[in-house]
Symmetry: C2
Subunit: 209 residues, 2 copies
DNA sequence: TTACAAACCAAGCGCTTGCTTGGTATTGTC
DNA sequence: GACAATACCAAGCAAGCGCTTGGTTTGTAA
């Protein structure tokens, strides 16, 4: 009980049963699964690993999920749901388009490098391990998430504040931001998340104005 | 025999035995392995898949490579060797630092989305599947490759042409450029590799001078 | 033609995998 | 305090995995 989550956005999603409570059996399993999938990859992680991580027998997993792949899908779906809500809230708070973009960058960096980092990495790098039908389901959710970005980037493009095409800029940002998970270590080293956000905005030429 | 390779850089690397001839048995296997590893992932690709792709029995693979992992390592090592040489040559041809950066971006995009694209994707996304000792070996080669980028980016930073820190800019570019492999399709759609390079330079505010 | 190594095949071993099965605690409800 | 429903265990099955083995074919050079 070292950590009690107080995020109101997470709380309301749990209430709506759109994401699992991290304190529940299912939630704990999904958290451990995200960590294992990120550290070892989906294929290298066995159902025995997953079961051991939450202290049950491997066969007991299949009382909660029908297949191993269903666990991967649940990790991805719940992660997108949570992060879409977080991004929406962050963008709504900001005033200008530039501030909205900054909020999106900052929030996505936090998702990738913070508490939901394991799950975000899984979402990006374990995509191929999903069956095609599951991919289609997850893709629908991701479209909502991406529309958030594109509307802000379009605003900036119309105001001539963006060097490149909005679609391409978003794709470049997707790669650049998700890649931070491989190198950004906030604990050792002076660069904070805000500092990193500044660097991203500076790279885009959006630091002044 | 539809395709005869004429690239002089590749030819000299083959002569020095640093890279396998794509026409040789070993070279063909490595090409097929790169394709399979990229399409299905290293773990999902079986030695039987690899053998079938070049028309031999699975056991016969182990006449050429001692383990399956050795195949993955060979794909990565040879890819880095080839691309370091290609990048070096491209940068040497350019005059200004800005033109050198453009050449590096253009060449890396070509590596990622062209003929060596499968192998480049493997290099980026199958890193975890390498044993630690192999990772260390490959890392040494990658440092040489990265120094190419950093020297050019430092030049630009000193000339105040770069919005953000050189190290961070390179890391952002690594993510952004490698991510293109997931969405950039030159065949269907108007965007050429040169056009994509323009967009990257524009995003960095380096399209004019 | 002979000699020999490199390249390959056919068969399968030992192990791990995802998942199933039949049964036993544990929990919540009236 | 009876009774489901839920959560879990112990055991193991069938299939697939990387890799080994013993023997055969192919290429090359004297």
């Amino acid at each position: 009980m070292a950590f009690v989550n107080q995020n109101p956005i997470l709380q309301s999603l749990i209430a709506e049963q759109l994401v699992s409570d991290p304190a529940s059996a299912r939630g704990r399993l999904l958290n451990e699964a995200a960590r294992l999938f990120r550290d070892k990859g989906y294929e290298r992680t066995t159902v025995r690993d997953l079961a051991a991580a939450v202290g049950i027998q491997s066969g007991s997993l299949f009382h909660h999920f029908r297949t191993k792949e269903e666990i991967l899908k649940a990790v991805m779906v719940e992660t997108i749901r949570l992060n879409t809500a977080l991004m929406q809230a962050a963008a709504d708070k900001a005033e200008s388009a530039r501030e909205k973009l900054r909020a999106l960058v900052r929030t996505e960096l936090e998702s990738i490098n913070g508490q939901t980092g394991e799950a975000m990495a899984v979402l990006v790098y374990e995509w191929r391990s999903l069956s095609e039908s599951s991919q289609a389901e997850v893709l629908e959710l991701r479209d909502i998430y991406e529309d958030l970005w594109l509307s802000v980037l379009h605003q900036l493009a119309e105001a001539k504040q963006l060097g490149a095409d909005p679609f391409i800029t978003r794709r470049m940002l997707t790669g650049a931001l998700s890649w931070t998970v491989t190198w950004y270590r906030p604990e050792r080293g002076g660069l904070t998340l805000d500092g990193l956000t500044d660097q991203v905005m500076a790279m885009l030429g959006l630091d002044q104005c």
